[in-house]
Symmetry: C2
Subunit: 405 residues, 2 copies
């Protein structure tokens, strides 16, 4: 297949490109390199030393003899160039990662909120409008998030995208299937919830074939392909905005920084290893919906854990201390989470569990690159509201940690 | 109250400004005049001769001694200017009409789809982000549409915004209240569905006070205020993109053009007279939600009718012929529609019914300005998909009407 990977230079995008190239697909990376620019903006860098995209592609060619095509293009702002690219290259599938993906970054300031909404909505909608206009029947695979549903205390199992409801009508109760109602908890999550509505419309009006992967929190660094050369290594974010909770714990343990649990740590979240993430994308690609079919929605996760249990698990393996800090997010202190992922299991996914993968990560990545860590970048400081920001500012434990670093 | 009316130069915006000014409020019109530019783009004009916004404001001052403040500002693209405006003027309420509002226009080409999504989402989100950033506790009243729900054949009554659902949990069934599920039928309607998600988030995260008015199809021209001077007259669109169904029938009858019913005419829609529309906005303003309350949603409509019944009603009053044409839209041929509007009735709305208002419109507006009609602009030609466009192109009845005109 000829596959366009929008956002193919990112944390999940890059290993996805290598995985698909390794399977023999013709892979085109379309990226505006915004994530690298945001590193510059925030003054942070990947824990792992990361080459330019051009150099990464060159190394992949050297190691495997396979070509990765790179196109510098902003899908959100260069609609005509993107449409022209589609017409010229006629991809069989498009994998869409081209969205700002950090909740804390999306909540930093009004500028970050506006950027996240404009960028993410325009990117997704431009892809859809261009597919309709060019008449290209490519399967669109989008990376969404489990977080669209919010994390309520109701404890209902999250089904794979849809919910059956009974509606009262003058002729009695009728069954209807609706998109599972969303209640996003950040501007970032909200944009993925907007994406759902865009997909629903274009599948219904134009028969576009769309798969939406509601991904859990990704952890880990290596895939079989990124391991093949030191310069193919994946990025690893540990800062308070882009670092995901589990990867941050690993790093904190490696540098004797207390594991920072926000609130009670009673938040239950869904997780998936980066290796399984790229495998799920392969499986979704192989199982495209037909034209006229509703959007296919998968929950792309393998296990759920409470944040404080994760901290304790890593503390037990490493001897790290656990610090409970005020929560910069506005969210439920404690929640249950039951997620259905039957579709991926049926397609043959064999999950990498935390139990087997954690120690590798600590040794291979966290300890190996610990000297590159800027301790000042570890605290999570982007607050969801002004009131919360004020509360964090005055927290004695937060003060202690900032003085440690 | 000091009230900002975003999009205050438009079809509902303008009479709203006059109505609120008449009630003694300090009204600020914020508009980028995009609707006038679109007239130029499409080569159409309002049936009623419409002065510049500056001239309209001057006349209103002359007639009433009340000042309307006009600010040329694009809310969608000039975030910082808008935020600066808010800080300077500290409005008590904001009424948000600043969105591209025609479904057919939103479906014309990919450029129109992209424009509609970018403009509408950015405008709404910029208002929300700016309110949070400036800390201004203004009540935001937004004009949405009944069309967010689509028009399914299920025949369920449309409640005022929310739906109670029962969700299975490991601890038994639990009741939950969700936003009534949307299934928009055009890119335009889709943007209003996206707005709902934006409102839900900002009410929940930041305690913004928001009222979302799901409006039916507006008909009529005059309000008590627009009648007070010929140069205060409201705009009246009759073209295939911006003309609303009932106003189009009135015009068609006035120029002996067959009343164009698309499909079977079995579509049931909700209607409201422009006079009631501005009155509903007044009522909504007087009934603001409190901070922390969920978004207040009203159905802003007064009666429902089947399109073919409307055509027959007007044919009977005027002797016009009815022509059944292929439908450029992708929608159900026939649908039931029951809409609850208890909240507005409870607040004291006294609807203007079709039965009493129709004849006035035919005489006062349609016949009076019939000489200004460009018959070539009457057909509705924006098709929802390429297949539909092809079908319309070859329709013999459509050919006949185009040759008549």
């Amino acid at each position: 297949m000829r596959i366009a990977v929008l956002g193919g230079d990112g944390f999940v995008g890059w290993p996805t490109c290598l995985h698909l190239s390794d399977l023999g697909h013709e892979v085109h990376i379309i990226d505006n390199l915004s994530r690298r620019w945001i590193d510059a903006e925030l003054g942070v860098q990947s824990l792992t030393p990361m080459d330019s995209i051009q150099e990464r592609c060159r190394i992949w060619m050297e190691v495997t003899g396979r070509k990765l095509h790179f196109h510098l293009l902003n899908v959100a702002t260069e609609y005509e160039r993107f449409r022209g690219w589609l017409t010229e290259h006629q991809p069989d599938a498009i994998i869409h990662f081209a969205e700002q993906r950090a909740a804390p970054y999306s909540m930093k300031t009004d500028r970050h909120k506006v950027y996240t909404v404009n960028n993410n909505v325009s990117a997704t909608h431009n892809v859809l409008a261009a597919l309709v206009e060019t008449g290209i029947d490519a399967h669109l695979v989008h990376l969404g998030t489990m977080g669209v549903y919010g994390y309520s205390s109701i404890g209902a199992p999250i089904p794979e995208g849809y919910l059956d409801v009974e509606i009262d009508t003058p002729n009695g109760k009728k069954e209807q299937q609706i998109l599972y109602p969303t209640r996003p908890g950040s501007v970032y999550h909200m944009t993925k919830s907007l994406d759902q509505i865009l997909f629903q419309f274009y599948a219904q009006n134009d028969g576009l074939r769309i798969t939406d992967l509601h991904q859990g929190i990704v952890w880990g660094t290596h895939t079989d392909q990124t391991k093949r050369h030191v310069q193919l290594i994946n990025r690893f974010d540990y800062d308070g905005d882009y670092g995901t909770v589990l990867n941050r714990f690993l790093i904190q343990a490696a540098i004797d920084y207390p594991l920072t649990v926000h609130g009670t740590g009673g938040q239950t979240r869904a997780f998936i290893h980066i290796r399984d993430s790229v495998r799920c994308i392969e499986l979704a690609l192989g199982d495209a919906p037909k034209a006229g079919e509703r959007v296919r929605i998968f929950n792309q996760m393998t296990e759920t854990h409470r944040v404080r249990d994760l901290a304790q698990m890593i503390a037990a393996q490493t001897g790290a201390e656990v610090a409970f800090l005020p929560n910069p997010r506005k969210e439920a202190d404690e929640n249950e989470l039951i997620v259905k992922n039957d579709q991926f299991l049926a397609l043959g996914l064999e999950p990498t569990t935390l139990a087997e993968g954690l120690l590798d990560e600590i040794v291979d990545v966290a300890k190996k690159y610990a000297h590159r860590i800027d301790r000042k970048r570890v605290p999570a400081v982007s607050a969801w509201t002004r009131d919360i920001a004020a509360r964090i500012e005055t927290d004695p434990e937060g003060k202690r940690l900032r003085s440690v670093s």
